[in-house]
Symmetry: C2
Subunit: 368 residues, 2 copies
DNA sequence: ATGAAAGCGCTAACAC
DNA sequence: GTGTTAGCGCTTTCAT
């Protein structure tokens, strides 16, 4: 007797539970939220009725009564630094806005840090901690600097959500982002698609400290693994490079080293900095394939003019927005998220890029 | 003076408007909803205050008071027929469930039809109409049979939303789906990626009445246009085929005609039936590229074993779920959707398919 | 430990 | 036309 189509059963309320259990609504509420001050007998009785009637709280009614404003803190790279993190910040603002629409008071206070300076990350994380937020969203770009921060949050029982970079076993409520190893494999698949001979490929880390960056290591590992897969007829070769900042003096000479590689068929840039090398490489090596990350405006231009072939979209905006929503669901609705929310690995080409741009953030209202 | 970060302003309520305007809450409500029975002067005053205070209704509070159960009707192909429409139906149920979580009473009544029989579509549409639903979701696979149906819905002021197939100027509240022309272009881009010589490509419509199917015509148009683009060095050739049902006697001989094409480099199947031809073609023609549609289970197997190279995901589940949510937003929150909600054209490969499968429908709570 | 009751912001029914 | 009021389901406070 699961459901009988034409019979719309009214949803059962706390009052119904109270009546059936022979107690007051207040008692039922106390049981539901484990607030204590309930006799063992009453508690048991209520639990039974709750289970029997299969009580599901009305989440909308739940929020109405609350007039607390939840304070969320976000620890993310400075959004003036690059377009990727600007999109992330936009996602936060969007999430905040949409919650406001539903009368949920959720103020998000950003704490920015310089994405290339660990000290800046540390400093901002301290400031954040002292603000005693109700929940935290963080892009933990620095692994070792993060550990004590997360420990303190855990001690204070402040829930925190990771975006962008997954750190294992730090006590996070949830990680929201991509499977970076698989992301590297995908890049390898695309860059070698349809090639019948053995070739050489380069992976470029631009202006990054590879040792400190778990996420880039993961991408590289996946990339290499796919290209050297046991069951492939071709034996491909992969070279890894760490380049200085595009504006540095050494940059061009480093790039020349890359394009001088024998039999080079493709270049994979592990971050969103693909635009800074794409046109130079494409002009130097005929038929070369170039793959990068993210729909930032500089990359879009490269996609249009054909210097970048594919982009993998990490969707920073959606990651951040979902992070805020997840915190809201946890704090207000007491809905716990899965520990891992892995986003699909979206492949962007000149022919589908427009469909991704128009689609971003245009949803609103009650939803998935 | 847009916003001052640390100052959390309490959201303004109908009562605030009423006080400022020197009228009662009831009057304000009447103005907001154009219910009439308000003097011109009062109305004007209220409008002014509304604008000045930038009133945004609390959507959550709005639903609480309602105890009406909205009845939605969905006109979709029989979900037992194929996996694509099963996913669509799952999306409907998911949307319904999530609304229920928020205490919104939305019952969705499905009206199924045989996707190959226009009469069945007509018949179901009539039944649906007589049930006098509050809103309608429809996959209008038959263009001409749809016209009078939509006319009647419009006359009765019953809002309806189109999914899957876009029909112009029929008075729909919104269309949710993909840009099918662009979808064809994308397939062409992928199927010709990296090829340096002029080649031949085939587009296959399996068990479909091409004349009646606007959506397939659009895909074909996009596919051809891209491959014959003026600025390409190669002059590719495209042949179009309409095949009978895979279980028919003629099927194999028709397929043989396809693979006999000179210089054939790729095959594009316009529907989710790619699995029915992929392995045969792949075995017959070396290095051929095959592209199809949708993450139905038969296609997934082909992706895994390498007989299908790419899939374009139409995401029927998300289309349907969003359709239900959009109807809810319209009927309850009076939020009007954009007339066109175009989904991104998602490219699926063996390396990213798993990330799409795990991601489906695992979001819940207040959200985008 | 328990119950009664006052809201949360909005809607709708009912007086005037 | 306009104002008043009783809920919607849940939370929270305040007596008991």
């Amino acid at each position: 007797m699961l459901s009988c189509p034409h019979m719309i059963q009214k949803s059962i309320r706390i009052r119904d539970i109270a009546l059936k259990a022979g107690v007051s609504e207040g008692t039922v509420d106390r049981v539901i939220h484990n607030r204590g001050k309930v006799s063992a007998t009453a508690a048991k009785k209520v639990q039974q009725v709750l289970a029997k009637l299969n009580y599901k709280p009305n989440l909308i009614a739940r929020t109405l009564g609350k007039n607390k404003t939840y304070r969320i803190a976000a620890l993310i790279p400075d959004h003036t630094y690059d377009d990727y993190w600007r999109q992330s910040y936009d996602g936060i603002k969007l999430g905040e806005m949409q919650l406001a629409q539903f009368g949920i008071h959720f103020s998000v206070e950003p704490y920015f840090f310089n994405m290339h300076r660990k000290e800046s990350y540390l400093e901002s994380s301290l400031k954040l901690f002292h603000s005693k937020p109700d929940g935290v969203l963080v892009a933990p770009l620095f692994f070792y600097a993060s550990k004590p921060f997360f420990k303190k949050l855990s001690e204070k029982h402040i829930p925190f959500i990771l975006i962008n970079t997954q750190l294992q076993e730090v006590g996070a409520l949830s990680f929201i982002g991509q499977d970076l190893f698989q992301s590297g494999r995908l890049a390898a698949e695309l860059i070698s698609y349809g090639l019948t001979a053995s070739r050489t490929f380069a992976i470029l880390h631009i202006e990054e400290d590879l040792e400190n960056s778990v996420h880039l290591q993961e991408k590289e590992r996946g990339f290499k693994e796919y290209l050297n897969q046991y069951n492939k007829p071709q034996k491909h070769d992969v070279k890894s490079f760490v380049l200085d900042a595009p504006k540095s003096n050494s940059f061009i000479s480093q790039l020349k080293e890359v394009i001088a590689l024998q039999n080079l068929a493709g270049v994979f840039i592990s971050t969103s900095k693909g635009y800074s090398v794409a046109s130079f490489i494409k002009q130097s090596v005929p038929y070369i394939r170039i793959i990068g990350y993210d729909l930032i405006k500089e990359n879009l231009a490269c996609l249009q003019n054909g210097t970048l072939d594919f982009l993998i979209n990490q969707n920073p905006m959606r990651q951040a927005k979902l992070g805020i929503q997840t915190l809201a669901n946890h704090l207000i609705f007491k809905k716990d998220p899965p520990p891992l929310h892995l986003f699909p690995l979206e492949i962007i080409t000149p022919q589908n890029v427009s469909t991704y741009l128009s689609h971003e953030g245009n949803q609103s209202g009650i939803s998935i």
